[in-house]
Symmetry: C2
């Protein structure tokens, strides 16, 4: 535990009934960003990557695999390098007070800083852009590697990066990061599932109907329709609708729905429970040639927590966990556990690891508490507990 950045805690459990391997993977470490040196002469520019590190951040990542652990393992081994490369490509902009219009620093036009200012572009937007690009680059790497090694699979990705006093949380999938402070509970990510991304997915099927190969219906109904419903007017929703309306059921409406099931049971094309993530390049609907990948996004949503703006307490943490935790514990229940555990264990140097283990145990029904309300998780569960108070320790240049 104490080798983790910032003394963060980590714990995991494998409920491996359903598969041989832990499909959850985790990664964390220092993020050492080097800088390029510029040389320019007439129309020619040279760039050299310096050896010593220029800027230091910290990195935590959780990957929840499906269809085997291959994609999650690749992501855990690759994503931080992609991110480092993407950050190194823009680091001159990141350390400026305002990103320059030109990365070279030369102004082509005197009013360039004013244009950047008017667009409200800040240095944190470059880190967000780097995270977005890194996820996409990592997705391409995974696609190539899996194909080359005749493996399959996909994974969700939840990444936290601490850099220059800010915590960036990038999420593609159904894991969650939760800020827990003495008087505040705030999710730092939102889940991407067939339900939460219904309109985007239906819209794609509307634009490219060939993606459904005549086997699925794009429309949403409260339940799967059957022969008895033919000719009746039933509740439905299409891609442009947030509300509901009625339509007369035709034969095509009896096809299997593009998105089917409620809550945790909701599936995309009857196959997948998430709508964003890495991998799945080869994934097809069982016994068909219908591909899932066109409906999946690898780009994450990024939220930024400005730690320098918060008066952080000793027990303020971010809890990152895969869906196995959040399926059985609410945000409020997690916050209760955090707030009762940490103040009681201030002297324990491993208290963040112990808290992570406590959170894991409470998904197994082994903890005291409102047992009647508590379910048991049969999924893999992985948890990081990141203490925010120690931010700034460990130094960060320049």
């Amino acid at each position: 535990g104490s080798a983790l950045p910032w003394n963060a805690g980590y714990a995991e459990i494998i409920n491996a009934e359903k598969s041989e391997f832990n499909e959850d993977q985790a990664a964390c470490g220092k993020l050492c960003i080097r800088r390029y040196e510029f040389g320019a002469e007439e129309d020619q520019e040279w760039l050299t990557l310096c050896a010593e590190e220029f800027l230091t951040g910290h990195y935590w990542a959780l990957f929840d695999g499906h269809g085997g652990p291959a994609a999650a393992i690749l992501a855990a081994n690759t994503l931080h390098s992609c991110l480092r490369r993407q950050l190194e490509a823009v680091v001159e902009g990141i350390v400026a007070t305002q990103p320059p219009m030109h990365l070279s620093g030369h102004c082509v036009c005197l009013s360039d800083p004013q244009f950047v200012e008017e667009k409200g572009i800040k240095t944190e937007d470059l880190v967000i852009g780097a995270l977005e690009s890194a996820f996409q680059e990592c997705d391409e790497v995974i696609g190539r590697e899996l194909e080359a090694s005749c493996q399959v699979g996909g994974c969700t990705a939840l990444v936290a990066v601490s850099l220059q006093g800010k915590l960036y949380v990038a999420n593609a999938g159904d894991s969650r990061a939760l800020l827990v402070r003495r008087d505040e509970i705030k999710p730092l990510s939102s889940e991407f599932t067939p339900e939460t991304e219904r309109q985007r997915i239906q819209q794609l099927a509307f634009v490219y109907p060939e993606l459904l190969a005549g086997e699925f219906t794009r429309l949403e109904f409260p339940r799967r329709l059957k022969g008895d419903d033919l000719g009746q007017k039933v509740l439905f929703r299409d891609h442009h609708m947030n509300g509901w309306s009625y339509k007369r059921v035709e034969k095509a409406d009896l096809k299997y729905p593009l998105i089917h099931g409620q809550g945790r049971q909701a599936r995309l094309l009857g196959t997948l429970a998430v709508s964003r993530g890495l991998g799945d390049h080869q994934l097809r609907v069982l016994d068909t040639n219908i591909q899932l990948k066109p409906f999946l996004l690898s780009v994450p949503q990024v939220t930024v927590l400005d730690m320098d703006q918060l008066e952080l307490g000793e027990d303020d943490v971010v809890v990152m966990a895969t869906d196995g935790l959040w399926d059985v514990l609410s945000n409020e229940q997690v916050a209760l556990l955090v707030r009762s555990f940490l103040p009681r264990n201030r002297d324990d140097p491993h208290r963040f690891s112990e808290l992570a283990k406590t959170l894991i145990r409470s998904t197994q029904g082994k903890e005291d508490g409102p047992a009647g309300e508590r379910q048991v998780s049969y999924d893999d569960v992985s948890v990081f507990v990141i203490p925010l108070h120690s931010q700034g320790e460990g130094g960060s240049g320049p």
Copy 2:
């Protein structure tokens, strides 16, 4: 003023320097919803629309025209009929405690109510759906009518409907509805402009590059690029990005940007300041064959205010106005004017109309106040002031 529903106030001003007509149009009135009577026998169903009204609502609408007043006039004359028709088509569901799976009320499957329950479908979702459909139907009507009469133009649409204790606000464009209460200011709509809908618009151009006819670039840059920028790495953003990154400028990047300009000056294809609305079926980029309509949505965003859940005060109102008002007054300034005017004029039966006039006058720099901070509007301005306290008066069935 006193003939308006709920004694609501209305005022408008024409800054007609730029055009012959008031391009703003307004409409309001009672919404009388009739009911269909069902008759069924074996596989046959008959529906008859009853003569007497079954459910009553109220309706306020503002349309801000561009390219002439034709579309706004058509919308003001048509949208309420479209909405009435759409509501009449689902009224049996609206008056139920929960919308039935089948509009006929017959259950094909005993667990149907449970499926509707699990999806969380409520009667207000049917009103939202009816508003969404009505906007689209009205857009089609406007397209046909303008073509038949060889006219052109488009308009934004902001609609408020009060029905069964709820206020529905549907918005397509850059008008705004603002709730002002003693201790609360809450926007009930958000604006749809090329800036706020950047990702949707860039995504469309990515999927259908032919829509740009090789004349525009999909990418966003802090300013329009020029020859000097060629080969340099400059800040840019593509459809999948919320953050910013750098790219090396190629010749194609020098084209005119799909979305250009900041704030009020932002234009779609150099032509239009809004990204949602009605009409514009014929609109093309000047001197080209490039159409605007594929980038425009007619579907509104709908927000619901549950008036029955609020302890409404005598001076609680919704202020609806076209962009001419919000360009020169902030939400806070409008709230200040409302809160200082209404309590002082409780005895005036026309106080809501007088408030609307006061708001209009303050866009003309004729009012007292922090004149230094206040700008003058040269746009048409139209304002409704809807008192919420009188809701429930005037009766509403069934």
